[in-house]
Amino acid sequence: MLEVTNLQAWYGLAQALHGVDLRVGEGEVVALAGRNGAGKTTLVRCLIGLHRQAGGSVRFLGRDVTGMAAHQRARAGMGWVQDDRGIYAGLTVEENLLLPPRVSDRAWTLDRVYEAFPVLADRRKASGTTLSGGEQQMLAIARVLRTGARLLLMDEPSEGLAPVIVARIGAIIREIKATGAGVLLIEQNVKFAATVADRHYLLSQGRIVESLDSSDFRRREGELLKHLGI
């Protein structure tokens, strides 16, 4: 559903992405790991349309979205879960959920969101940023599910969260996969990524240097961890 070909981008005066090729299929969870500064966040921002790409193409659901603005890509079915969670302080929890428009008929209803995430129902009238870090992450994911996005671009969803919450996020990702949606999971925590991902990419200095399926990944985990400096 997502095909990225020879994607190039600059960050200030430095080239951040040197021709990235990657692919995410329907119902597939693809993890992308890389050190800090490898270009992971620039890549996601290019995909969602917030960072100008200098070359290459992005196809999504059979359409060329390369020249599309961010809001058009979102309406085409891309959902972004930002690395800092991107919860609005000036909006209540419920408003955070209701803000983005529905983009497909697989959009979750508010009731379904509240059933899956009871804590959000309890705090629906509270300001979004009064939630704990884990709850904010749930809110960020729930917000994208409510739009009915076909592809979730998740940037470091496990960062800074307790293991029990990380496990919960893993379960949610498996549920999303079961509905046929695709997930591109940007994740430094490769141990977590290994529990949910079907395939793995390793990004280094703006290039994809490894592309592995999950069995290769497990076999070479030690080597990869060493590359990531963990």
Binding site: I48, G49, L50, A69, A70, H71, R73, A74, R75, W80, Q82, G86, Y88, A89, G90, L91, E95, L98, L99, P100, P101, V103, R143, T147
Partner: protein
């Protein structure tokens, strides 16, 4: 006691102009990221338009309160489409300079056409005279201005907090990129929001017309105080703009009553103190200004 109440009402009435205009400035800054230096000139145009409508078409204040904001909305839309939009992608300083230049042009044009001596403005009968409220005698018009502005502020607040439009404006103000990535066409709201902000400045001008000398220069000093209001309230904060507007009106009125030469100084001392204690302003959020 009597005098204190009179100054308070006078201050709140003067604060109404600041509150309405600062509200407009705040939504424009929030959604466009533009510090609109021409806001004082738009306020002046509102007052001049009311005076001209009364003089040429015999339209009373009641009509001007309705017609002038609509005209100013149209004018704001034209300014945004013709000028402001081309600089939105650049450093905000460019639009600051553009609106500064626009101010000079508008002020000079009004001077050329209507002179410098000030236009007359007569209130409709029911708003003239004084009002005796349990022994406290207050000018009727000041009370009207106060109540009318409060009603507008409450209305804007309701729209901002209860409607989908308000939700989108708040989201675009706080994190414009994220709003885009969530599927909101932020660009579509830019022109109407600018027009709306200009309409509020024009409305403040209409209300000020019977109260102040209507001259081409009337917006200059107003604009300077308006920036103090916005800094005190917190850039981009809607509640902050309103509260700080009334607060500054009060400080000014009491200053003028008890220490006239220092009246304006007090406002800026207050601003300096607030910046020292809360750099983001009374209601500003760090995230909102980043």
């Amino acid at each position: 006691m009597n005098a204190v109440l009179q100054y308070a009402v006078q201050g709140l009435a003067a604060g109404s102009f600041y509150a309405l205009a600062a509200l407009g400035l705040a939504v424009i800054f929030g959604v466009l990221g533009v510090v609109n230096f021409a806001h004082g000139a738009f306020y002046m145009l509102g007052a001049v338009a009311a005076a001209v409508l009364l003089d040429t078409l015999d339209l009373s204040l009641w009509w001007s309160l309705l017609v002038v904001p609509v005209l100013m909305f149209g004018f704001g839309v034209a300014v945004e489409r013709l000028l402001v939009q081309w600089l939105l992608r650049l450093d905000p300083l460019y639009n600051f300079l553009l609106t500064f230049g626009l101010t000079l042009v508008l002020v000079e044009l009004v001077k050329q056409r209507y002179g410098v001596s000030g236009l007359p403005y007569e209130l409709p009968g029911p708003l003239q005279g004084r009002f005796d409220l349990a022994g406290v005698v207050l000018p009727r018009y000041q009370l009207f201005v106060l109540l009318f502005s409060l009603a507008i502020c409450v209305l804007v607040w309701l729209v901002m907090t209860r409607s989908r439009v308000g939700m989108i404006v708040r989201a675009s103000t706080e994190k414009p990129d994220l709003a885009r990535a969530l599927g909101i066409n932020v660009g579509r709201w830019v022109t109407p929001v600018f027009g709306f902000g200009v309409a509020l400045a024009g409305l403040a001008g209409v209300l000020a017309a019977p109260f102040r000398a209507i001259t081409a220069e009337m917006g200059n000093n107003f604009a300077i105080i308006l920036f103090a209001v916005v800094v005190i309230g917190g850039l981009g904060s809607i509640v902050g703009a309103v509260v700080a507007g009334f607060l500054v009106g009060l400080v000014e009125a009491f200053g003028q009553a008890y220490a006239p030469t220092f009246a304006q100084i007090f406002i800026f001392v207050l601003m300096a103190l607030i910046i020292l204690v809360r750099p983001a302003g009374l209601f500003g959020r760090k995230e909102a200004t980043a």
